[in-house]
């Protein structure tokens, strides 16, 4: 199975208040060292995959350059990343190559290098088309910038474009939200993501919201109910114009779904390079078979990863740690953990989870263990079923964490 490749560029011009990612503002001097480090990681990928106990694959069919703000890198640096990827992996025809861009960073040289490197998809971090709203959380662009960028991208031949929007920004009103939605639709981008603002400890605004304070305009953040209304309004309007809901936060015209992001939800393997980059690889089938079927008491040669279905590993989440080549953090997934992922990741998709298919993969008994949970969730109006497929209801999508929680068992951490 072809891999997805993710490259993390944790550099930004400013740190937005809602950002809960490991990106930050660093001097340009650090960029070069970082590119060296990430390129050497790409070269070492087969070794690392083996160390982690994952199944390596050289063919790749999606590449995603995310951030941070990858387009802060200069042309040579961007080009070197893509060249290194192409030298070390076997890119399939029609590989989806996405770059995340902050509006206003798409200079002519950047556009030129994107085109030359075969980038065929761009994700624009718009967040809001209302200038005041965007400014309050630290975005540096205006509405007009976005439309200029769109025009430039299309001139450069890149038409597969995503626009990110955030529902629940400080000062956002129903009317503002409708304006952002209208502009997003009018932009004719075939893919739109709608994220609801998250109040968590990993962003400055989130911490302030939890603390009930007034920094970062936290006290002007719409309440949960209003944000939920924004989200529902977004789903309705986008679906109505043929930009169909396919994942909790994602909408696309038919055929424009993000193939890279789908790998995350459908548990297809991927490798991540760079600060706080995440990978998931399947565990060698031999190991699994040894443990499940052919294991004997005296067999000393079985794979140390026997019994695990897949392995996740994460690169250090600080630039310092990454440059210092600290080892990745490894989380092996038991079959039980994998089954749980089938549910809490797969249910994010509007198409839902096919229980029959899951049973084929993991055994009928393993899936049947969730029967009571599933019927309780159906009774509560959070899940619905259609043949052998279960999916979240509209209400269930807004309460998806409550649903997912039910599919999780809390065990002692493994590995």
């Amino acid at each position: 199975m072809a891999l997805g490749v993710y490259l993390s560029v944790p550099f930004c011009r400013t740190k937005c208040s809602y950002c809960n990612f490991a990106s930050d503002v660093f001097s340009r001097a650090t960029f070069a060292g970082y590119i060296d480090r990430i390129c050497s990681d790409i070269e070492r990928a087969p070794v690392v995959a083996e160390q982690m106990g994952g199944q390596y694959e050289s063919s790749v069919d999606t590449v995603y350059l995310g951030g941070g703000t990858p387009t802060l890198l200069d042309s040579a640096q961007l080009e070197r990343l893509f060249v290194t990827i192409r030298q070390n992996f076997c890119l399939q025809p029609e590989t989806e190559i996405t770059v995340e861009c902050a509006p206003g960073t798409l200079t002519a040289p950047v556009l030129e290098v994107l085109r030359r490197c075969g980038v065929n998809r761009v994700s624009l971090g718009v967040q809001s088309f209302v200038d005041a709203e965007a400014a309050v959380v630290g975005r540096l662009h205006k509405r007009a910038t976005v439309f200029d960028d769109l025009e430039n991208l299309r001139s450069a031949g890149i038409t597969n474009i995503n626009i990110d929007l955030i529902a629940g920004l400080p000062y956002q009103t129903t009317e503002c939200w409708e304006r952002s939605l209208s502009d997003a639709i009018a932009s004719a981008a075939p893919h739109i993501s709608v994220y609801m603002l998250e109040a968590d400890e990993d962003s400055r605004l989130g911490r302030e919201l939890i603390a009930g304070g007034t920094k970062y305009h936290a006290h002007f953040v719409p309440d949960d109910d209003l944000t939920a209304d924004f989200y529902l309004a977004g789903c309705e309007r986008l679906n109505a114009v043929g930009i169909s809901h396919y994942e909790i936060s994602n909408f696309a015209r038919h055929g424009f779904e993000s193939r890279h992001n789908l790998k995350y939800w459908t548990r297809q393997p991927y490798l991540g390079f760079g600060v706080d980059a995440h990978s998931m690889l399947k565990v060698d089938r031999a190991g699994k078979n040894f443990s499940e079927d052919k294991r004997t008491e005296t067999d000393e040669t079985v794979s140390p990863w026997r019994g695990f279905e897949a392995v996740r590993f994460a690169m250090p989440d600080s630039l310092e740690g990454y440059i210092a080549v600290r080892p990745p953090k490894r989380t092996p997934l038991s079959r039980q953990a994998a089954i749980e992922e089938i549910f809490f990741l797969g249910l994010r998709l509007i198409r839902g989870v096919d229980l029959r298919q899951a049973a084929t993969q993991f055994g009928v008994d393993s899936i049947n263990e969730f029967a009571a949970t599933i019927s309780e969730l159906k009774e509560n109006g959070l899940l619905e079923s259609d043949g052998s497929v279960i999916r979240l209801t509209t209400r269930g999508r807004l309460l998806s964490n409550e649903v997912f929680e039910k599919f999780i068992t809390i065990a002692e951490s493994v590995g």
Partner: protein, 602 residues
Amino acid sequence: MDRALIRNFAIIAHIDHGKSTLADRLLELTGSVSAREMQAQVLDAMDLERERGITIKAHAVRMMYQAKDGQIYQLNLIDTPGHVDFSYEVSRSLAACEGALLVVDASQGVEAQTLANSYLAINHGLEIIPVINKIDLQSADVARTKEMIESTVGLDTTDALLISAKTGQGVPDVLEAIIKRVPPPKGLPERHLQALLFDSWFDSYRGVVVLVRVFEGSMRAGQKIRLWSNGRVFELETLGVLTPKPVVINELVAGEVGFLFANIKSVADTKIGDTITDDEQPAIEPLPGFEEIRPMVFAGLYTVDAHEHTQLREALDKLRLNDSSFFFEPESSVALGFGFRCGFLGLLHMEIIQERLEREFNLDLIITAPGVRYKITKTDGELIEVDNPSKWPNQSEIAKVEEPVILATILTNEEYVGGILKLVEEKRGKQKSFEYVSSSRVMLQYELPLNEIVLDFYDRLKSVSRGYASLDYHLAGYWESPMSKLDILVAGEPVDALSIIVHRDFAYDRGRALASKMKELIPRQMFEVAIQAAIGAKIIARETVPAMRKNVLAKCYGGDITRKRKLLEKQKEGKKRMKRIGRVDIPQEAFLAVLKVGEGSS
């Protein structure tokens, strides 16, 4: 020792008026403690006492003093607890003395506890020597202090001693005054033994340590002694005195004070105020004044972690070895699981027990709203006592409820009287007296239902008087009152741990306050949750926690599924820590915070 050379005395003082400092000076002057080994305030032994600046355990210290008349006297200083919760212990300590020093801070004047304890001393026929302390302070007002002592305690202050315990000024005169003015003890060594047990505590090496004052007869090691109240007999193992270091002696005779070990395992056997006599030649009658200690304040104690229930039981058992004045029995609550119903002497006592359990036994505790013990006459004529809301009968079965009432004495400066009157009226108080004890100092006496005192009265009094009011009270009988059980229902299910007994006039306000507090504390659930306050079947207040609309993790940075899973696990674990009542998850904090909903904040 010649009885004529013995003096037994106590020190009566308000907190911070200098009792411990004066005791330290007396110990120094008599050479009982060398300056080097002296920690500040040696009488307060337990950490907790030192921290709170109050003496919980009474102690008795023997000092030998060569007076100006050339004679060597035996002075026994009997320390008394300084808080209203322990007034019975105070009365027993005073009963062991012939005299008392009444220490009053010259800058503060007479406070309520000082007054109450002075009355106790007068009732016991003690000679009281007024001592005006802190005369070195700029704000000292000796004349006004004297005036207050005269008008409140009713003592002649012509010969009051003026001292500064801090600097030592005037302290030698205190020793001389004790010799001259406190009468020597009466009683004869050859009579049948009558000794007053005025304190006891558990020592993990020696078992129970008992402090005694011998009134008649004598005690010696090997003697068989009998405790009057329960008839139990023990062999007297060791006799001693505290100097304050323990020193073993052969004999304690009439008039003397000391400690004993007799291989006693439980302090529950050694009741304060009991009489100790000789088993073979017992006295004809006990000493007067013994009472069984009865708890006044009741609350449920639960561990936050249900698995710690056994540890809590062990801790309570151990603590009771040390403090027989609190009571506990198992109870269970739907909301909180298995716990104990505990009875305490008062609120401070309750706090001390809770703190000791948490500190010495490392337990996290939930304590339910404190309440009192009601006398209920049922319609069928049966008389029952109820201290636990969950045992409250149906309203239809109740003919009459009587609630305990206290007589409270409050001393304050006149500028705070307005606020205090408002407070005591709000707490259903009935005025007994209102008196100016000096030009600016007022003494109020009110009858108040104990139920109104236990929740937040101290804190409220402190805040309306900015700390310039002192309170003392004692049980003064019962009132018949329309008391009802107020229940809190969450999604239709009563939450037993939140039930309280409340006066009918306050039911609506309390119900509303509790319901709205619960609304703040219960997180939104998957469905709408009704919170109701009810008396019997009657709903008197209602709040609604709307259903949760949104709980979504939107973004997935670069495929970080591990983080997503961790968040879901954290969410799930958070719910496990909550108490589930019916279908509703209630956080532990809700049970704690409800205690803080006093009438004042409603």
